[in-house]
């Protein structure tokens, strides 16, 4: 099989070509489609440890390409990749090799009314959530997965996913409220 690559080529066709010929070109197309999303998700799951996020994306691709035979085309390739990325990130978080940088550091105050400042505040809030809560919040409220899907991805019960989400939302909203109160009294940044 030989495919002229372009936007009309599906992930499944690229995966089939990669499986068949180990084509670097097919892999490059898949990587360019999926890496930006994977990187953003892993970055947030790590709580902003951007120094490690690319390493984990690389590990995700190594595991994924190494186990392509396990991919079933009835699942979406992107979802399958996210699942691997979650396992890679969980392994990393459990290993204790985590380096907390970036979003945890206090930065120079932004103009308080800017969109960028709001986004950074929210990123900091997400980064400060406990690992389990953060993952569920990201997968449910940012990525749009159901509790059933999240349960399968994280290896937890659906009910656990729901309770983690409740806790995450409660904490996130409290942190945002706290930040707004402090901001109104003249202090920049979000506090927990």
């Amino acid at each position: 099989m030989r495919i002229e690559h372009g936007t009309s080529v599906t992930d499944e066709e690229l995966v089939a070509e990669l499986r068949e010929t180990r084509s670097e070109s097919a892999f490059r197309d898949l990587h360019r489609r999926h890496t930006p999303r994977l990187l953003q998700l892993i970055l947030r799951m790590l709580g902003g440890a951007d120094a490690e996020a690319e390493d984990l994306v690389q590990e995700t691709w190594i595991r994924a390409v190494g186990s392509l035979s396990a991919f079933r085309s009835e699942a979406r390739f992107g979802t399958w990749l996210v699942r691997i990325a979650i396992h890679v990130t969980q392994d990393h978080l459990k290993s204790g090799r985590r380096v907390l940088v970036g979003l945890h550091e206090e930065t120079a105050p932004f103009a308080r009314d800017s969109m960028v400042a709001e986004r950074m505040d929210l990123e900091r809030v997400i980064a400060r959530l406990p690992d389990g809560c953060r993952m569920v919040l990201l997968l449910h409220d940012v990525e749009g997965y159901t509790h059933g899907e999240i349960g399968a991805m994280l290896g937890i019960a659906e009910g656990t996913s729901k309770s983690q989400l409740n806790a995450a939302r409660r904490q996130a909203q409290a942190m945002l409220e706290g930040g707004r109160t402090r901001g109104a009294s003249g202090s920049a940044g979000v506090v927990s």
Partner: protein, 187 residues
């Protein structure tokens, strides 16, 4: 898609989450690093599509390369009066990758050892003998490089070496030309 939750998202949090970017571009060096890591593990092959395009005639060229070595061996044998070099059977037979790699390793060692012997005797050899030894060594080197290029069409080092070897002598019409990036092999 989403179930009802006990804790509703506040409008502020909901809007904020909705505005978060879903993608971020990796650093410029990430893609080359990733490709290198995958190649090193044999999970992807540089120019994999090119390799598969040439797959139909790569076996023919493999045989041609074997015959080139054979012809060089015959020529050397006749000139030196010894027995002709045999075609290594597994090159032509359906051997698995491990067996072929072992064969390459074995014959490569023998090849290097023979060249070492020739080099050791070069001081006492005649100019004709020296020229013959060099000609045979170049033939086998050329055949080896062709195989290297077929094995990995993205191997620019092998392509460059082959191009240098195939560069026609001044005044000689080129019969074979190899170019680099993108790799084109023409006859």
């Amino acid at each position: 898609m989403k179930e009802d939750e006990d804790v509703e998202l506040s409008p502020e949090l909901s809007a904020g989450l909705g505005r978060l970017p879903r993608e971020v571009e990796p650093s410029r060096g990430f893609e080359p690093r990733l490709l290198t890591a995958l190649r090193a593990r044999g999970l992807i092959v540089a120019g994999g599509r090119l390799a598969s395009r040439y797959a139909g005639w790569s076996s023919a060229l493999r045989i041609a390369a074997a015959l080139a070595i054979f012809a060089a061996g015959v020529a050397l044998g006749h000139r030196l009066g010894g027995a002709p070099a045999p075609i290594p059977e597994p090159v032509l037979a359906e051997a698995n990758a491990r067996q072929l790699a072992a064969l390459v390793q074995r014959t490569g060692s023998a090849h290097a050892a023979a060249l070492g012997d020739i080099a050791a005797r070069i001081a006492t050899a005649s100019p004709e003998e020296t020229a013959l030894a060099r000609e045979v060594a170049m033939s086998s080197l050329r055949a080896t490089l062709w195989q290297m290029v077929l094995l990995d069409p993205g191997d620019q080092v092998a392509a460059r070496m082959l191009r240098e070897l195939e560069r026609p002598a001044p005044g000689t019409p080129p019969s074979v030309r190899v170019t680099a990036e993108p790799l084109v092999v023409s006859f």
